[in-house]
């Protein structure tokens, strides 16, 4: 019965009542998220809202203060280390920096998870790696070292590495940040293509509105530790929340103040140097 329910359940990642704080700073304050199988789900919000932290929580690298995260029916934070590692083999993650191992070349980087987790013969590893490198268009760059790659190429290599074990889901941490328009276009195309071709579930964390809106099936907008808006890109652009509108249309001032909280400007200027 339970197994049958699980099969029917098309929600891969279920976040319920998640709270997390770093020191005295509350980053998440009871958020609920559903990430559906086979879809591209985007999590958006201004810088510093803990989007990367959310991915680390889903990956089990951080532990929530309250609430639960279920991935494929398993509560991530109640798993033993070995089971957690098994689960992680089925999750790929693309780090903002790429996080390529700097002492080995592109080929060995992509081969790294395969060699660590399987005893496949080297010929097979080679085929597998070249297939994934071909998918991201970098088969010719296999002998380069990570330091010789541009930022966009490094991210594509990291993407090839993230999908080399054919995971059920891939988490993208700010895939578009700091990329030139062409690289952005390439990455948008890649994420979309991989999602449909491999039947992946994708989670994209980003604050690049247009690129993300172009590929996302569903978007959650976070701010101040809460989900302030959710829906398809269409629904969000028609949102009646002032905050979501400010974010989606990139306005400088609005519900998110331009000024960092401070005492009154005039008082501050007049009172200067008297205490």
């Amino acid at each position: 019965m339970a197994a049958k329910n699980k099969k029917l359940d098309d929600v891969l990642v279920k976040v319920r009542g998640l709270s997390f704080s770093r020191g005295s700073r509350l980053i998440f304050d009871g958020i609920d998220l559903d990430i559906r199988r086979g879809k591209v789900t985007a999590i958006m919000g201004p810088s510093g809202t803990g989007k990367t932290t959310l991915l680390k929580l889903i990956g089990g690298q951080l532990r929530p203060d309250q609430g639960a995260i279920e991935v494929d029916g398993q509560n991530v934070h109640q798993l033993h280390r070995a089971a957690l590692f098994e689960l992680r083999k089925r999750m790929g993650m693309l780090f903002q920096s790429g996080a390529l191992l700097t002492d080995i070349n592109v080929f060995d980087n992509v081969a790294f998870p395969v060699r660590e987790h399987s005893k496949l013969p080297e010929a097979l590893v080679r085929d597998l790696v070249l297939m994934k490198l071909e998918a991201v268009g970098l088969r010719g760059a296999r002998d380069l070292m990570p330091s010789e790659l541009s930022g966009g190429m490094a991210r594509r290599v990291a993407l090839a590495r993230a999908i080399v074990l054919d995971p059920m889901m891939v988490m993208y941490d700010e895939p578009f940040t700091g990329q030139d328009p062409i690289s952005k276009g390439v990455l948008v195309e890649l994420i979309h293509k991989l999602n449909t071709a491999l039947g992946l579930t994708s989670v994209v964390v980003s604050h690049d509105v247009s690129e993300t809106a172009a590929i996302a099936d569903y978007i959650y907008v976070l701010s101040g530790g809460k989900v302030v808006g959710q829906g398809t890109p269409d629904e969000l652009s028609r949102s009646d929340s002032a905050w979501v509108r400010q974010f989606m249309n990139a306005e400088a001032d609005g519900p998110v103040p331009f000024h960092y909280p401070a005492e009154g400007y005039v008082d501050d200027l007049m009172g200067g140097g008297q205490d």
Partner: protein
């Protein structure tokens, strides 16, 4: 009042770090068996930690031995005991200078490099990335370096001592005219294998483990920014050098009554 609170806070953070360092060591020890299947990783680290430290060890060992030869001769010749030059050089090297000076050079050459490497891996999310690929960075990155350090240090100290004795021999016998036979026979008479040589090796193994532990922990615990890594590197060299001195006193007191 403020300084008292600050003192309390720095005391607490000191114990917190100390605790983390020991938990880290436990995790490393627990990960030791995994190295059995990864001989290749150990080989690469032996190269980085051992082979690359060899030159500085050889040069310093030779010069320390030569200086000992010169200084010792000048003192001993006043007592007409220049035949004991070899004993003096060999005993100081095998018991103290070999393990201790080699350990300092090791901390400066290999220890700082280890901290910087691991700290940068942390800063560039490589360690985090490994964890997300279900690879334990302690087993994959830390353990091979730890074992390499523990193996390389006694070998380096032995090389340092041997080259140092050679340096003392070159100066004493070659330059100052101490009798060749007397030099070696005195050395062999007075230097005990178990009491001196083996104890020196034990010291250098302990130093190797402690230096590598400090270096790896500082890297692993570093604040993942360029400033954090540079601070951690400095701390490695300072703490490791002091730890070597302190441990040397304790070990000497235990070994040589």
């Amino acid at each position: 009042m403020l300084w008292l609170r600050r003192l309390g806070r720095s005391g607490l953070s000191f114990f917190e770090r100390l605790g983390r360092a020991h938990l880290f060591l436990l995790a490393v020890i627990a990960g030791l068996p995994s190295l059995l299947f990864r001989g290749r990783l150990l080989l690469l680290q032996l190269y980085a930690v051992g082979v690359l430290s060899l030159l500085i060890i050889l040069v310093s060992g030779l010069f320390v031995g030569m200086v000992l030869g010169l200084q010792g001769y000048n003192t001993l010749v006043d007592f007409g005991a220049e035949e004991s030059l070899g004993v003096m050089v060999a005993l100081s090297l095998v018991r103290e200078l070999g393990p201790v000076v080699a350990a300092w050079l090791f901390a400066g050459r290999a220890g700082s490099a280890l901290t910087a490497e691991i700290g940068l891996m942390k800063a560039t999310e490589q360690l985090s990335g490994m964890e997300m690929m279900a690879v334990d960075p302690i087993k994959r990155v830390v353990v091979p370096r730890f074992v390499a350090g523990a193996i390389a240090m006694p070998l380096l100290a032995a090389i340092f001592s041997a080259v140092g004795v050679l340096g003392g021999y070159l100066v004493g016998v070659g330059l100052l005219g101490v009798d060749d036979g007397a030099f070696w026979s005195q050395v062999q008479n007075k230097v005990g294998f178990y009491d001196d040589v083996v104890n020196g090796i034990i010291k250098s193994v302990v130093f190797g483990v402690v230096i590598t532990w400090i270096a790896l922990f500082e890297g692993y615990d570093a604040v993942p920014t360029s400033e954090g890594v540079s601070r951690a590197t400095t701390r490695t060299v300072v703490h490791a050098s002091l730890a070597v001195l302190g441990l040397d006193f304790v070990l000497t007191a235990l070994m040589f009554d």
